[in-house]
């Protein structure tokens, strides 16, 4: 922009200067030459008119020479040539006149009845040659056959105009430099606000919504700056509003989840008592007691998952990573939930990665729990380190797999997959082999008691968030034989990155 502006300025200045000087030069040169010509012609005419009456016609060589000298006397240092038929006389005997008085001029003078002139170059210098026939002054203007030529030196005029050109030429350089300087100045004053505006726009785009530009003056640029500021204000205001709403929504979810915990804590406690005594109750009451237990456990899991997801939304999660044996972690996750017998393991041993063990456990529990709940046996867990800096964990099942549209949405919150993939409608408690805690395992955050039953609908979203927190991904695909396969990829991070507790 700056370069273009300067170049344009200089070009405009150059064109103007050249055009102006060319016109001025042409006019000046024409004026100078015109004046010289007029002077020469008039001088010659006057001189001839004054001297001619004293010449007898036809002249002899001597009288012709005298005549030439006489004409020359009044014309200064100009060479005068007088011709009459074959005779010719020159005022300066040493001057070479033949080269300067061209045949065309002589022919023109002889044929015409007035003064004729011609500019000629002779030995590199310009000369003005004026020729006139001498006529009788008796009215009928007969030509006397006498022709007078005067050669005027034009070197002085040439030098004058050359000097003019020179001065113009030397003057062009400062003009162009001045134009360039002015252009730079203009570019500065015009471009600085533009550049500031550009920087502010970039900052705004980069997320700095407080970016503003100073408004100076009342021109179009100031107007643009003002508009930019107003846009940024509006953007900032709506962003703040959105953020406030989002924070409010997050806080609401967290508060609700939190408030739910206290009654849930009481219900969870007494539900155990009910379930323990269910065998001694009438069948209806026993069923009711077991249902209350199962639903309380489900509600607890939902609240836990809601709290976990609101922690992710609030950015309040922190990776508590240390060097971890992954095969070991997978086995422990399954053992903790009593799934060891239901899952086929193909684990590569001695794969150690810097991960948050608790979060990997959550991922494994959700992926395997999902496969057990919605897929069909055999459920296979494969741990591999396919080289490089990645480790993969595949959870595959023998079920019908996921239709493509479900694959895209399976990580969405509260997404319920196609009913065809839900294996059973008899309820979780039956398949899970026990209500909350009956297996006696020491549960953890809603996953320990019961991996079956209805999920909270947040499990896969939480698994994905946990994978992302590690810089990893979870992909869902289809096995050739039909079942769904979820692939967790985790980077094998270096020890230095770990947050030591």
């Amino acid at each position: 922009m700056r370069v273009r502006l300067v170049v344009t300025f200089v070009l405009v200045a150059l064109v103007s200067a050249v055009t102006a000087t060319a016109l001025a030069y042409r006019d000046a040169r024409t004026a100078v030459l015109q004046r010289t010509q007029n002077t020469a012609v008039n001088d010659l005419r006057e001189r001839v008119a004054a001297v001619a009456p004293g010449l007898d016609l036809p002249p002899d060589q001597q009288s012709l020479s005298r005549f030439a000298a006489k004409v020359s006397e009044g014309l200064g240092a100009r060479v005068v040539v007088v011709r009459h038929q074959d005779l010719s006389a020159v005022s300066d005997a040493y001057a070479d006149t033949e080269g300067r008085i061209t045949p065309e001029l002589r022919a023109a003078v002889r044929a015409g009845d007035g003064a004729r002139f011609q500019r000629v170059q002779w030995r590199g210098d310009p000369y003005l040659v004026v020729g006139t026939p001498v006529t009788y002054a008796d009215g009928d203007r007969r030509t006397s056959g006498l022709e007078v030529f005067v050669i005027t030196d034009l070197r002085a005029e040439r030098d004058d105009t050359a000097a003019l050109l020179d001065s113009v030429r030397t003057g062009t350089v400062p003009v162009v430099v001045l134009a360039a300087l002015l252009a730079l100045l203009a570019a500065g004053t015009v471009l600085r606000p533009v550049r500031k505006l550009g920087r502010a726009t970039r900052e705004l785009a980069a997320g700095d919504l407080g970016s503003r530009v100073a408004v100076r003056g009342h021109d179009e640029l100031a107007e643009l700056a003002r508009t930019f500021n107003e846009t940024a204000d509006a953007l900032q205001a709506s962003d703040a509003e959105l953020r406030a709403q989002e924070a409010k929504a997050r806080r609401f979810v967290a508060d609700v989840s939190h408030e739910l915990r206290t009654p849930l804590a009481a219900m969870t406690m007494v539900a155990t008592v009910l379930e323990e005594d269910a065998d001694q109750l009438p069948p209806d009451a026993a069923h009711a007691a077991r249902t209350v237990g199962a639903e309380t456990a489900r509600l607890s899991r939902l609240v836990e998952d809601l709290m976990e997801i609101s922690r992710f939304d609030a950015g309040a999660v922190r990776l508590n990573a240390s060097v971890t044996d992954l095969a070991d972690t997978v086995r422990a996750s399954l053992a903790l939930r009593g799934w060891t017998d239901r899952v086929t393991l193909e684990l590569r041993e001695d794969v150690r990665a810097v991960v948050d063990r608790r979060r990997v456990d959550v991922i494994v529990a959700n992926l395997v729990g999902n496969a057990l709940r919605h897929g069909a046996p055999p459920v296979t867990v494969t741990l591999a380190a396919p080289g490089g800096d990645r480790v993969t964990l595949e959870v595959a099942d023998g079920g019908p797999g996921l239709p493509p549209e479900a694959r895209e949405r399976v990580f969405d919150r509260f997404y319920k997959a196609d009913a065809a993939r839900t294996r059973s409608t008899t309820g979780g408690g039956d398949q899970g082999g026990g209500g909350p805690g009956e297996d006696g395992s020491l549960g953890q955050d809603g996953f320990g008691q019961d991996g079956f039953g209805q999920g909270s609908g947040l499990g896969m979203a939480i698994a994905l968030e946990n994978a992302r927190l590690h810089g990893g991904t979870i992909e869902v695909g289809q096995r050739p034989q039909g079942g769904a396969v979820f692939t967790l990829r985790l980077p094998l991070r270096h020890l230095e990155e770990e947050g030591d507790g």
Binding site: T268, T272, V273, R357, G443, D500
Partner: protein, 238 residues
């Protein structure tokens, strides 16, 4: 039967827990506020209490403060924190206040019971003895001035008794049983806390932090319990 003190302001939760624990043979004392709990512990019934389950969010004095006051009074009473706030920050604050374990609400009866059993077991005598230390007699070892008596479950440093709560004592006994050997947080969790909770390494870190504050000359540059970055902890080398 072990006596448990429940400090919980919500009557339903308190009644539920009391009901469950009584059915499983525990003696139960209850307190609705921290002040009430401290008064009870100071009294005649307080002498019977072997473990406290402490809610963090209490009216008036909060759970952190109650825990600190209990610790100031007795080093040996196991405290399990029961928190409705599952955020890392709250849990770590609770553990640093001196709790031996934490449980996030809602908790099922079997889990609560298991954690109570584990906490009580930690207060029992510790039979093992490790090599590599200079044996004074059958159960006492001297590690550069830090004398650990495994039979009497006492620790003295340069002749001065260092009272340690059961969890910290267990951590020290576990680590000093094999000086120089690195134990991962998971190993310590399994052997000291007696449970397989994955990733509850905050318990270990908090207990080690409190232990260092009591036995190290400069807790920031520990000599006895050293951190092995990325793996766990090690006793010595001295």
């Amino acid at each position: 039967m072990p006596h448990v003190l429940l400090i919980e302001d919500d009557a339903s939760v308190r009644d539920g827990m009391e009901l469950v624990l009584r059915r499983h043979g525990y003696g139960v004392e209850t307190a609705a506020t921290g002040e009430q709990a401290l008064a009870l512990l100071a009294g005649e019934r307080g002498a019977r209490v072997e473990l406290a389950v402490l809610d963090l969010m209490l009216p008036g004095m909060d759970g952190f403060e109650v825990c600190r006051r209990i610790r100031a009074r007795t080093a040996t009473l196991p405290v399990i924190m029961l928190t409705a706030r599952g955020d890392d920050r709250d849990i770590v604050t609770g553990l640093e206040a001196g709790a031996d374990d934490y449980v996030v609400k809602p908790v099922t009866a079997p889990v609560l019971e298991a954690r109570i059993r584990a906490a009580l077991r930690r207060a029992e005598p510790y039979p093992r003895q490790g090599p590599g230390a200079q044996a004074l007699d059958a159960d006492r070892t001297d590690h550069a001035g830090l004398v650990i008596d495994r039979a009497g479950l006492t620790v003295t440093k340069h002749g001065t008794a260092v009272p340690l709560p059961p969890t910290e004592l267990r951590v020290l006994l576990e680590l000093s049983a094999s000086p120089g050997r690195v134990l991962t947080r998971e190993q310590l969790l399994a052997s000291v806390w007696d449970h397989t909770f994955l990733g509850d390494s905050r318990l270990v870190d908090a207990a080690v932090g409190r232990l260092r504050a009591k036995i190290e000359d400069v807790p920031a540059r520990p000599r006895y319990v050293q951190t092995v970055r990325g793996f766990g902890y090690r006793f010595g080398p001295l």
